[in-house]
Each structure stands twice: as C-alpha cells, then as structure tokens.
C-alpha cells in the first residue's frame, strides 16, 4: 500500500487530500512522523523523522494524529479482498503482503490483468485515496524490488529474460534484507550491484555473513527460493517480549520498575493468548539516553506464562546491577525457550493451579471488557499511555489480525 497511514487519513478527511501531511503519535515536538503523504514525500522527509525536523524541511506540512483503528480496519479489508483471489497470502507487515498466484493467474488471462482487477477492487472498496502498488515476479524478493520501483499506484512486472539486466543495474542496497551495515560490508568486498554479488564465491559469502551468505548468493544469481508462507501457517513464535522507551517523567528507577511490571503483564497475557509457556526470561534496562545497556537473562526451573513469575525473574536479574541507576531510558522484557502450553507439565501444587485459574479469569475479563478493565495496581502509579498514542490499538491486536506490523514508538512488541 502506498503511504498507507497517510492515505487512509486523506481518505477519511477530504480536506487533507492533495496536501502534504505527516501522521504522528503525539502532537509534540518530541514525537516522530510515522507516515508521510505522497505530497510530503516530494520533500526530503523520511519515516521516523522527528516532528521538529519535518516541520523545518516542509513548512506547509500538516500533522495529523494517527488513528490505529482505521489502519487495522483497512488492513482487514484489503486482506479480505485478496483472500477472494488466493488463500496463499503471506502478511509481511501492516501494509505489505506476498501472494502466490501461480495457479490462479491463468483464470484471469495474464498477471497484469489480475493485478489491475485487484487494484480496481481496492479503489472501489477502500476508496480512491488508498492506492497500492503491485510488483510481479517469480520470487518474493524481486517482486518487492519491482514494486518499490513502480510506486505509487503502479504495477511492475519482471520477466525472466529481464533478470540479467536487472542484476547488473541494481545496487545491493535496493534489495529488502540488505541494510546499511551489510551494504558497507559488501562495498568493502568490492560488491556494488547484484551481479557482483552473484560472482562472489559462496564460501567467501558464508564466511563473511554466515548462513545469510547463502541468501545473498541466491539474490546475486536472481534466485530466491523462500516460499510464500500463508498467514494460516505462520511458524511458531520463538520469543514473546515488549519494550518501552520511557518519557522523561518516568525515567527514575522506581517508576521504571512499575513500567516493567506492566510489560511483564503484557508478555504473560500475550503468551497465554498464543498458548505458549517459556523458561528463559530476559530483562534489559538502558541507563541514560546514550548510556550503557544492562541486559541479562535467567532460566527458570519450569516454563511459565505467569506475569508475576516473569516479573520476579526480572527483579532477580536487576539485582545484579551494581549500583541503583538514576536514569532509565528504556525497559525491555522477553521470554524465550517457548513450548506450547498443552505440552508443558501441569503443576501439582495448589498455589500454582490457583494462580493459573486466576490468570485465565483475568484474561476472560479483559477479553470481554478491554485490556484496561482489570490491571495490576502498580500500573496506576504512573500515567497510563493515552489512547491517541499511535500503536495503542495495533499493540492490542492478536498476531492473527496483523503480523509483523510496527506497533508505534511505545510498547513495542519484540
């Protein structure tokens, strides 16, 4: 989808159409812009830019607070449209999907006709402002590359006979999965474009990048064998975690502990929702804005999905900090070594069983009356996250609704 959040805002409010807009979390100078409209993108702006900087670059920029409910609804709707064509849909992020249409394309004549048809459905059912770009290729990486080149509101197709030319003319940084660090590394090795990458000996790439070298070699040869993984077959999670960058008024150690308790609560709830228990708890504190990061992990005797136990494990970890820090900028907690709940042993102790029943009851209340309907008392000791903060709703969505989506600047699921 093109300029997704911004185009949804323009669809909902015609006054914003044709104007440079930036979607923000909070309307403060410290906030960041999570999406720019097409009109704003003509200026030198980038996603994640601080509000003050965006204002400087584009004086006419209109800041619009985000409406996560609208984005969630639109994602559900466009996925609903796509499901009419194939069930083989991999949700890559809130606004990006891969579809395997190999079997379906014949029914529609050719891929371009099918792409046009999908775009027409989008226009009709989502509105004229919410546009999309479709990239068609024989693999995911190259479909994404082609889509990027035809933005906005375009259709791009890569035929097999065009691959060689594409490899010779495409800089490595253009490929999804090759970020600035890998790009620098490749430049040092004399690799500038994809064709150079394809000529690199596989052993050398494996030595420099580990197993990722195999992916890089494939891309250099125009091969990406990773299949489209339908949303119904998403692999089991390896970890469940949350982190939060603290606003200035919460940066003391004692308040950070309250935030940590809340994050443990969220982790526990998410694990129970997903049906997993875990043994290894990792807790991290960033001490000061540019200060050191303290992070350790501990392994419990038995796996758990109980937030209280996760919190106690975190406290044990934090007791290893030699001196109580004055400033804490970021708090994170995650649980790994996950196993499905139904495969974990049932505790024979009454207390554990009672705690488990209590957690289920709390989950039940939250499912019915909302996440904030029942909460740990300490969470009331610091200001709750206001509803308008972007990510509030996305954060509460289950993995089934949207996978891989960024939940905004606060309380990022890990």
């Amino acid at each position: 989808m093109d300029a997704y959040f911004a185009s949804i805002e323009q669809q909902a409010d015609p006054k914003l159409r044709g104007k440079p807009i930036g979607v923000t979390g909070r309307p403060t100078e410290q906030s960041i812009v999570v999406a720019f409209s097409r009109e704003a993108k003509r200026f030198d702006v980038w996603t994640g830019m601080p509000v003050w900087e965006a204002r400087k670059v584009c004086r006419s920029l209109i800041f619009v607070p985000g409406h996560p409910e609208r984005y969630v609804e639109t994602t559900k709707r466009f996925l609903g449209i796509l499901k009419r064509y194939t069930p083989k849909i991999e949700v890559f992020s809130t606004d990006e999907v891969f579809m395997d249409l190999t079997a379906e394309v014949e029914r529609y004549g050719d891929p371009i006709t099918l792409a046009r048809r999908i775009k027409a459905r989008f226009r009709e059912e989502l509105g004229p402002c919410i546009t999309s770009t479709i990239g068609i290729a024989s693999s995911k990486t190259f479909a994404k590359l082609i889509a990027k080149r035809h933005k906005p509101d375009g259709i791009g197709i890569l035929f097999d006979h065009e691959m060689l030319l594409l490899l010779k003319t495409t800089p490595v940084s253009e490929v999804c999965g090759i970020g600035p660090r890998i790009e620098k590394h490749l430049h040092r090795m004399g690799v500038r474009n994809l064709a150079d990458l394809g000529e690199m000996p596989i052993d050398l790439l494996k030595r420099e990048f580990g197993v990722y070298g195999l992916f890089l070699k494939g891309i250099g040869l125009g091969i990406d064998s990773s299949p489209v993984v339908p949303y119904s077959e998403v692999p089991a999670p390896k970890s469940v975690g949350h982190s939060r960058s603290l606003p200035p008024h919460l940066r003391t150690y004692s308040l950070a502990l309250h935030v940590l308790r809340d994050l443990c609560d969220k982790v526990g709830r998410r694990m129970r929702k997903l049906g997993y228990v875990g043994r290894t708890v990792h807790c991290g504190f960033r001490l000061g804005p540019t200060g050191p990061h303290f992070g350790r992990q501990t392994t419990l005797d038995t796996p758990t999905d109980d937030d209280e136990r996760i919190y106690r494990a975190c406290l044990d970890i934090l007791s290893a900090i030699p001196q109580r820090p004055k400033i804490v900028n970021n708090v994170s907690v995650s649980v790994t070594q996950l196993v499905p709940y139904r495969e974990s042993p049932i505790s024979l102790f009454d207390n554990d069983q009672r705690k488990e029943k209590l957690n289920r009851a709390v989950d039940h209340i939250r499912d019915q009356y909302g996440d904030k309907s029942i909460r740990v008392g300490t969470s009331l000791l610091y200001q709750a996250i206001p509803r308008h903060v972007s990510g509030f709703v996305l954060d509460q969505m289950t993995g089934e609704d949207v996978r891989g989506g960024n939940s905004g600047e606060d309380d990022d699921p890990i």
Partner: protein, 85 residues
C-alpha cells in the same frame, strides 16, 4: 476546523445485504436534516464489550464524524468539520 459535538442523533440507514456495514443516508441533528452525499471512511472500534462503527461522511460542504453503538443501535454525532474542502 473540527469541533467536538457528542450529541445523540436520529439516523436513516439502509442495511444492504452483503454490505460490510449499514449505509448511512441521512441524519437529523438539532432539528435539521442532513443528507449524506458521500461516505469517506467507516471503521470499527471496540471499547471493552462495546463495538462502534465510526463514520466519516460528507453533507453539503461539511464533514461529519458519527458513531453507531452496534449493541444499542444508538447514533451519536461526534464531531463536525464545517468546511471540508
């Protein structure tokens, strides 16, 4: 400029078979009838066990934000943007 209103209203809607949400045709607010010329956006919101359908619609030169409590079938006019273009 968007102005918050939060007042109950009467609404004229059509429940069309297969449509994802009721189609809003007109509403009455402060004894005045507003014919909906365009529906810009409709989304669903949840607050606890309550589900709402939120409409952003155009009537005349104004834009209106309305909310339907799907449980109670009650309509509210949430906000008004007098000059929408």
């Amino acid at each position: 400029m968007t102005r918050n209103v939060n007042e109950p209203i009467d609404a004229l809607v059509v429940y069309r078979r297969g449509a994802p949400h009721p189609l809003l045709h007109a509403f009455r607010w402060r004894d005045e009838r507003y014919k909906v010329s365009e529906t810009f956006f409709v989304h669903r919101e949840r607050n606890g066990e309550n589900t709402y359908l939120c409409y952003s619609v155009g009537s005349g030169r104004g834009r209106y934000e309305l909310r339907l409590d799907t449980g109670l079938g009650r309509w509210m006019l949430e906000a008004v943007d007098a000059a929408r273009c």
